[in-house]
Amino acid sequence: MAAINLQKAGKKVLIVEQHNLPGGCASSYVRGRFELDPSLHELAAVGSIAKPGAIRRMFDDLGLNVNWVDVKDCFRVVGRYSDGSPMDITIPSGKDELIAVMEREVPGTTKKMEKLFRLFDEINEGLGYFSTGENYNLRYALKHFSNMLIVGSHSCKVVFKALRLPQKCIDILSTYWSYLGVDMGRMSFLHYAMMVSGYMTEGAHIPAFTSHELSVALEDKFRELGGQIWFNCRAESFLFDKGRVCGVKTAYGDVACRYALANVNEDIVYGKMVPKEIVTSRLRRLSNARKQKYGARMFTVHLALDVPHEVLGINDYSIFMLGSADSEKEYRDIMKGFDSNNFSILVCYNVANPKASPEGTCICSITTFGSPADWDNLKPEDYALFKTKCAEKLIAQLKERTGIDLAGHVEEIAIATPWTFARYLGTPEGCVYGHETADWDDIISRTLQIGKDYPVKGLKPIGAGGPRGDGYSSAYQCGEMMAAMVLRELDEMEAGA
C-alpha cells in the first residue's frame, strides 16, 4: 500500500520482498482442490458500497477490484459467564442489533449500552479531531471530547467497571480481546472503542478469493504504475550516509534510495539491519522495555472438508470458544502452554462465501494462540507429533462444546504453528502482530510518540510492526499514512534545497 501510494505520486519505487509471493500473511496456498487462507478471519473498516469504510475507499481509490464478501454476524461465543452459567450468544453486526441482543441476554442493559456507544462515537470523533495533525484547540477538545480525555489513559477493564456494566455484559464485550491479542486489563479502551465501533458500524468483510486476492491486486497495480518488485530477494541491511538512509543491501547487490520503508519487525531492523552507531540509546531501551513481549503467535488448523458446512451443523461464520470469561485469566492460561489453553476460534469461510471451496465441500480453520512455553524447546523430531496432538485437542473441544464433529470428513489438513510463521515471515518468535499494544505501549501512546520512536532519517516503519499495530486494516492504513509522511518530508526537503 505504501509502495503504490508513492509510485502513484510519481516516485520511483522498488519492492524488495524476501518471499516469492506478495502479502506476507495476506496470502493463500493450494492443497488438492482447495485454496486456503493462512490468516484472515475478517477485515474491519471495509463498509458497504453505499457507505464505504476506510479500507474499501482505499482500494477503490486505487482502482483495485476486490470481490468483498459481507460477513453477516460478528461471531458466536460459546463458553461460561464469570458466574459459571452457560454462555452461547451470537454477536450481530450493527449497534442497535447488539444492544437488542444484549438486552435479551442481560435484561436492563439497554441504557448502559447506549451510553457505551455514545462514548464510542465521541472517541471516534475525538480521535479524528486529534489525528488531523493540526494544532488543536484545548478548549474545544475539553468541551466536545471531555469523556474521551477522561477514559483515554484507562484500560477496558477500568472503563467497563466505571460505566457500571453488569458482569455478564462485560463478559460478552470482553470476547473481542483476542482480535488484538491483549487482555482487557491491559488493552487501551480507546483502541477497543475504535475496533469495536468499526465492526459494529461497518461490519466485517472477507475477499472472495482469500486474502491473496488483496495482495495480488496490490502487486499488479504497483506493476501497472511502473513499480518494480524483486521477489525472493531479502533486504539484508540499510546503508547510510551522514546518518541518513542512502541505500539497501539486497541479495542482488546494493540499491541506492532516498527513503526505505521497512515492513520488518523493529527489533530486526534496529538489531540487525541498521549499523550500531545509528541506533540510539532510546531505540535500544524501547526494545528492552518491551521485553520481547510480542503479540499473538498463532496456532491454526486449516481443514478442507468433503461435505457442505450445513451437513456438519456449522451455521456461524465464526465461533469463539472460551476457556474463561475473564480475559486476563484466559491470557495467562494461554501463555502457560497448550495444556492449560482452552481458547479457540472456529471459522467456516463457506458460511459467508459459498464459493470458498468446490461444491459439496467446505473450508474451516480452528485458531488459538501459541505460547513460547511450548514452541521454544520443542525438538524438530517431536514437532509433527506435538502439533498433531494440539490439533486433535482443538477438534475434540469443538465437538464437545458445539457438537460439530469433523471426523471422517478431513480431505486436506495443514497445521500452522509459530514455527510456520517464523519460517515464512521471519518475524521474532513467529509473531504476526509485532509487539503487544498494551499498557504504556498501547496504540494511542505509540501514535503520540511517532516522532520519537522512529528517529532514523530516511527510514519509515510499515506493516504489523508499524505504529498502527497489528491487523490487515491497520497495516494498509499504516502504509498509506507512511507514504503520505514520506511525500510530505520529500516536499519539505525539496522546498528547503
Binding site: H144, G152, T210, H212, Y252, D267, R282, N288, A289
Partner: protein, 405 residues
C-alpha cells in the same frame, strides 16, 4: 458533537476528573518513563522459535555424496548424502522429498527426489535418495554416469505433503508403487519400524521382473521386524510363484486392503494413467486417495503446442533482463535452466508454487493435471514456469533463483 448528546454522557472514572484528563495528557510521559527505566543493551534478534524453524526448514543443506550404491538391473543408483559439517540433517516426515541442486555445464538445475531412508538417520547427518534412469533424463543421466563419491551437492529442506497424517488418513494405508516410486514408501516403512510413525502399511509394488525390484532385501528385512508393514510384489513381465502377476488392479487392491484404508500412489506417469480407472472402480472418497505428483503430465502433447516450435522468452529477474530461446516442447523453467538462468524451482510439478512468476505477455499452455495455481493467479496471468509451455514469444518476470539451492 451535538450539545444534547454531550450533556447526557458524563463518564466518571475516578473522583478527580481533572486527574484522569491529566493522565491522558501524560501518556507520552508515562511511556518515556517506562522506556528510560529499561536497560540500554543490545537488541535481541534471534529466538528459539526462529532457530527451530530454520533447523526444520533450512534454505539449503550442504551435503556430500558419501557413498553410491549401484542398483544393477534397475538402472538406478542410491546416493547416501551426508552433511558437510557432520551436523544432523533436517528432520523430515517419511514420504517427503528434497530438491537437489546440481551444476551441470553452465546450467544450475534442480530435481526433486523422495527421501528413501528413515528420518532417524538425519541424526547422523544422513539422507538417502535413489535416482533411476529415464528417457531424455538430463539430470538422471548425469547422476547415473558422472556423479562420484565425494562430490558436493546442495539439497533443500524437506518438502512435500506425501506423508501419513493421522487426522486425515486411515490407520491403514495401501501403497501402490511403480519403479522408483517405492522410495517414499520405503521411508515410511522404515519410520514405522523405528516407531516414528504409527499406521499399517501394505505396499503393492509393481516391477517388470523379479530382477528389477528395487530395495527387495531392505523391504523384506523391515517386514521381518514389524508386522505393521506388508509387501506384495507384482510383476508385469514375469509369472513366478510367490509373486502377483500383471498390473495393480482394483481386484488386487481389494484382495489385500482392509475394510477402511487410504490409497497412496507413487510411480511413473504410466502408473498414474493406469490408476485413474482403478481408483474410479474402487469408488473411494477423494480424501482417501493421495498421489505424489512427480513431473509434468504426459498430456502436454494434447495441448496446442503439438509441433515443436522455438520461441523467444524475455526474462526479467530482479535488475537483470535475459532473452532466451525456448522450445514449445519444454517448460519455461527448463528453457531458463538451459540458458544458464538460476530460476527458483522445487517440486517441478506445478504444485508447490515456488516458481510463481508473472506472465507479462504471450500465450502459454498449462496441463490441467499440473495446474495448481491460486484462483486469483489464474485470472491475473501468473504462472508456474515448471509446468508452463510457451505457445508464442513470452515476456515474464521471475523471482530470484535460489543460488544456493
Amino acid at each position: 458533537m451535538k450539545e444534547g448528546r454531550l450533556r447526557r454522557l458524563k463518564v466518571k472514572i475516578s473522583n478527580f476528573k481533572l486527574k484522569d484528563m491529566l493522565d491522558f495528557k501524560n501518556l507520552p510521559l508515562r511511556r518515556d518513563k517506562a522506556i528510560d527505566s529499561a536497560e540500554d543493551k543490545v537488541i535481541q534478534t534471534d529466538f528459539p522459535i526462529n532457530s527451530n524453524a530454520r533447523a526444520l526448514h533450512p534454505a539449503v543443506q550442504r551435503m556430500v555424496v558419501s557413498r553410491i550404491i549401484e542398483r544393477g538391473a534397475s538402472d538406478a543408483r542410491t546416493l547416501i548424502l551426508t552433511t558437510e559439517d557432520g551436523k544432523p540433517a533436517a528432520w523430515f516426515r517419511a514420504g517427503q522429498y528434497v530438491s537437489v541442486s546440481l551444476k551441470i555445464g553452465d546450467s544450475r538445475v534442480t530435481r526433486p527426489y523422495s527421501i528413501s531412508s528413515s528420518p532417524k538417520l538425519t541424526k547422523d547427518g544422513r539422507i538417502h535418495i535413489t535416482v533411476k534412469g529415464s528417457k531424455n533424463g538430463f539430470v538422471a543421466d548425469y547422476i547415473l554416469k558422472d556423479l562420484k563419491e565425494g562430490d558436493s551437492v546442495l539439497v533443500s529442506g524437506p518438502e512435500g505433503r506425501f506423508y501419513h497424517d493421522p487426522l486425515r488418513d486411515s490407520l491403514n494405508v495401501v501403497a501402490v508403487a511403480g519403479g522408483s516410486g517405492i522410495t517414499p514408501f520405503l521411508s515410511m516403512a522404515y519410520a514405522i519400524r523405528d516407531g516414528l510413525e504409527n499406521f499399517n502399511l501394505t505396499i503393492l509394488y509393481g516391477s517388470r521382473t523379479e530382477e528389477s525390484i528395487l530395495f527387495r532385501n531392505e523391504l523384506e528385512s523391515i517386514t521381518e521386524e514389524t508386522d505393521k508393514v506388508q509387501v506384495v510384489h507384482v510383476l508385469s513381465d514375469e509369472q513366478k510363484p510367490d509373486f502377483e502377476h500383471g498390473f495393480i488392479t482394483a481386484d488386487l487392491i481389494r484382495k489385500y486392503a482392509p475394510e477402511d484404508y487410504s490409497l497412496f500412489i507413487c510411480g511413473p506417469q504410466a502408473l498414474y494413467s493406469f490408476m485413474e480407472s482403478v481408483v474410479s472402480e474402487l469408488n473411494l472418497p477423494v480424501r482417501r486417495v493421495r498421489r505424489e505428483i512427480i513431473g509434468v503430465s504426459g498430456n502436454m502433447v494434447a495441448g496446442p503446442c503439438e509441433e515443436e516450435v522455438f520461441h523467444t522468452i524475455t526474462v526479467h529477474q530482479g535488475p537483470y533482463r535475459f532473452e532466451i530461446k525456448a522450445s514449445s516442447k519444454e517448460t519455461v523453467l527448463v528453457a531458463m535452466e538451459r540458458a544458464g538462468i538460476t530460476a527458483p524451482a522445487r517440486c517441478r510439478s506445478g504444485e508447490c508454487g515456488w516458481c510463481r512468476s508473472k506472465l507479462l505477455s504471450g500465450s502459454v499452455f498449462i496441463p490441467s493435471e499440473n495446474d495448481f495455481r491460486r484462483r486469483k493467479d489464474k485470472d491475473t496471468d501468473h504462472i508456474h514456469p515448471c509446468v508452463t509451455f510457451p505457445c508464442s514469444n513470452l515476456e515474464i518476470e521471475v523471482p530470484r533463483g535460489d543460488s544456493e539451492v
